[in-house]
């Protein structure tokens, strides 16, 4: 998995290169916007992490330029800015995710894994948390090594939760993942699916945060 790291702070870039390298990513580093646009053109990476505060160009301009030729390249924004407008503008312009500095390595890795699975090469299609193993290519789910049968919606629900392990998925959030626009959703549909899913998994795997949503504990 090749990552293009666009970051003007050399110490941070060095640390990220080392840390991500250990996790099996190949990291190419450029430190300004012009080089970034050039690098994407000559050797398109699998994922780009882009700092918004670059010395030569505004990060959002780099994003706009890159999106013209590479509409599908997953882009993760890293930024020291926090204004809501910047965040919205970044996501509007086609960034896939957004991480505000200072962030923890684990958080960056989690976000990268989600992007990685989205482009799903077979090597990284499996998510293993505790006794549960989920294959995003074959849609197979193993509990303690033995296969269980899940309905399409149960599978999508489990995938959403496992991909975002350690984070809460609100009911609204899950509904919008499971159902398309205009589709009739019973008010307790998610509860029913979770109930059924729990019976097929190990106890306490899916946790309820009352009033907020559901979560799966990080591995």
């Amino acid at each position: 998995m090749q990552i293009l790291l666009v970051e003007d702070d050399l110490s941070l870039a060095e640390g990220l290169q080392k840390g991500l390298g250990r996790e099996g990513f190949t990291v190419n580093h450029v430190s300004n916007g012009a080089e970034a646009i050039h690098a994407v053109d000559i050797n398109t990476p699998d994922i780009m992490t882009l700092d918004l505060g670059l010395p030569d160009l505004d990060g959002l301009d780099v994003l706009r330029q890159v999106r013209k030729k590479h509409p599908d390249l997953p882009v993760l924004l890293l930024t020291a800015r926090d204004a809501l407008e910047d965040k919205v503008a970044g996501l509007d312009m086609g960034a896939d995710d957004y991480l505000v500095k200072p962030f923890a390595m684990q958080e960056l890795l989690a976000r990268l894994r989600v992007l990685e699975r989205r482009i799903s090469t077979t090597t990284s299609s499996e998510i293993q948390i505790g006794a549960i193993r989920l294959d995003t290519v074959t849609h197979g789910v193993l509990v303690n090594g033995s296969s269980v049968e899940l309905s399409r919606r149960e599978y999508m629900l489990l995938k959403a939760l496992m991909e975002n392990a350690g984070r809460i998925q609100t009911r609204e959030n899950l509904e919008s993942r499971l159902y398309s626009w205009g589709e009739e959703v019973a008010s307790n549909a998610i509860e029913v699916h979770i109930h059924n899913l729990r019976k097929k998994l190990v106890p306490d795997f899916i946790r309820t945060v009352r009033g907020v949503g559901y979560t799966v504990k990080k591995a």
């Binding site: 941070l12 640390g15 020291a80 505000v100 958080e107 350690g166 945060v209 009352r210 979560t215």
Partner: protein, 447 residues
């Protein structure tokens, strides 16, 4: 405090009173003297009249006069030919022509003696001085008194005129007084009297320098905090790498990791405090759903909850209010982080939103140790942490949290109260939003 208006009025009134009194006094004295001359000439004319009346008087004759003011005598040699009935029988004035002041009949009299050559008679007329003086005084006072009566009227006019003269000053004071804390725009110069233009220019100059220095300070804080985020990220990443490479790294670097986290936290809080400071805060009030906002914040902060294995429950209803979204998110993050921080491993946190007719109440309760009642007030102070620097929570914090919370609460004209949680036994923080409902002052929802 001295007042220009009162000073001017007192001084002007004093000067006018003094002037009026001096001129009244002068008028009185010259009036009296004029009156005396008139009366004197009357006396002389009367004597003249009496002297030319030709008659054969028998010595000792009297003539009755209806007035007590005048008396007269007509002498021929040593014989009193005729006298007014109220006149004594002795000579009342020396037989030398002209005016004399004499005492008789228990009064002081002004006399006039006149000698008629042809009849060889002396005619003496006399006028009682006390009556004459009181007459003269009446005449003079009648002309002087109205001027004195004018004084109060003048005082009122002066009061009004001085007030109007000082009105531009009052207006300037109002303009300055009603300026919002964050409004450093110059005061308009038009329609101002010359005397105030200089003052206004000086004030405007001061305002612009203040604005510049605010701007610098604001930029500095924001830039410094933003600039610090990147090195702190680098520090965190390097620490992570180090802890992966060292045997038992995670354990051995724990202290360093927690200090780094604390530093990052402090930077964030400084930024939040800065952004919500009254004179920096430009409220961007929109209609929003508090329920949704709280839910989002819980989702965002969930990792720290899970680390401490704490149970969180959120009970609420959709509650629409007008607020600044960023500020409210900061508020909620701080309340939640505080609860997580001071609640022990495996403890419980309860967040509720109740929306009753008048108010929306956001309450965060925990099962931690709570805060002693007498410290409720002091926890809002900046850099104040319960238990001082030896804080037992051993979690990152800088003591800015609740002071930011209070600032945001005040910006939204809400109320914050601390208490003991009835359900969980720890601290209960309640924030009451009232009056800031979806129907804002302009009655429209721009959210």
């Amino acid at each position: 405090m001295s007042s220009i208006r009162i000073f001017l009025i007192v001084v002007i009134l004093s000067i006018m009173t003094l002037g009026i009194f001096i001129s009244a006094l002068h008028g009185y004295r010259s009036g009296i003297s004029n009156a005396q001359q008139i009366f004197d000439s009357e006396l002389a004319d009367t004597a003249q009249l009496l002297s030319v009346v030709r008659d054969d008087y028998h010595p000792g004759d009297t003539a009755a006069l209806e007035t007590t003011r005048y008396v007269f005598q007509i002498w021929q040699g040593d014989t009193l030919l005729l006298r007014s009935a109220n006149s004594p029988e002795i000579l009342i004035a020396p037989l030398t022509g002209g005016f004399h002041d004499r005492n008789f009949n228990n009064h002081r009299w002004r006399t006039y003696s006149l000698y008629n050559e042809s009849s060889r008679r002396w005619v003496i007329t006399a006028e009682r001085l006390d009556i004459r003086n009181s007459l003269a005084e009446n005449i003079v006072l009648e002309s002087v008194l109205p001027v004195l009566a004018l004084l109060p009227v003048l005082a009122v006019i002066i009061w009004i005129v001085v007030g109007r003269g000082l009105a531009p000053l009052q207006r300037l004071a109002n303009v300055l007084g009603h300026k919002r804390a964050d409004d450093l725009s110059p005061i308009p110069l038009k329609d101002q009297p010359v005397e105030l233009t200089r003052l206004t220019r000086a004030a405007n100059d001061l305002l612009s320098r203040l604005q510049a220095s605010f701007e610098r300070e604001k930029q500095f804080t924001a830039n410094a905090a933003h600039e610090l985020r990147t090195p702190v990220s680098a520090l965190k990443i390097h620490l992570h790498n180090l802890s992966e490479e060292l045997p038992d790294g995670e354990e051995r670097l724990q202290a360093l990791v927690s200090v780094t986290d604390r530093m990052g936290h402090l930077i964030e809080q400084m930024l939040a405090l800065h952004r919500t400071t009254n004179d920096q805060f430009i409220a961007n009030f929109t209609g929003l759903d508090l329920y949704k906002l709280v839910q989002d914040v819980i989702v965002g902060e969930y990792a720290s909850l899970e680390d401490k294995n704490q149970q969180l429950e959120f009970r609420g209803v959709n509650s629409l209010l007008r607020a600044d979204q960023f500020a409210l998110e900061t508020l909620m993050q701080n309340l939640l982080n505080n609860a997580v921080k001071y609640t022990p491993q495996g403890g419980s946190i309860l967040i509720t939103i109740t929306d009753s007719a008048g108010a929306i109440i956001l309450r965060v309760e925990d099962s931690g140790p709570g805060i002693p009642g007498d410290q409720y007030e002091s926890v809002f102070n900046r850099f104040q942490r319960i238990g001082g620097d030896q804080n037992s929570s051993s979690t990152p914090g800088c003591g800015l949290g609740l002071s930011i919370v209070r600032q945001i609460v005040e910006l939204h004209q809400a109320q914050i109260t601390l208490g003991k949680s009835e359900e969980l036994g720890g601290l209960s923080v309640s924030i009451v939003f009232s009056g800031k409902r979806m129907a804002g002052p302009d009655g429209k929802n721009d959210g």
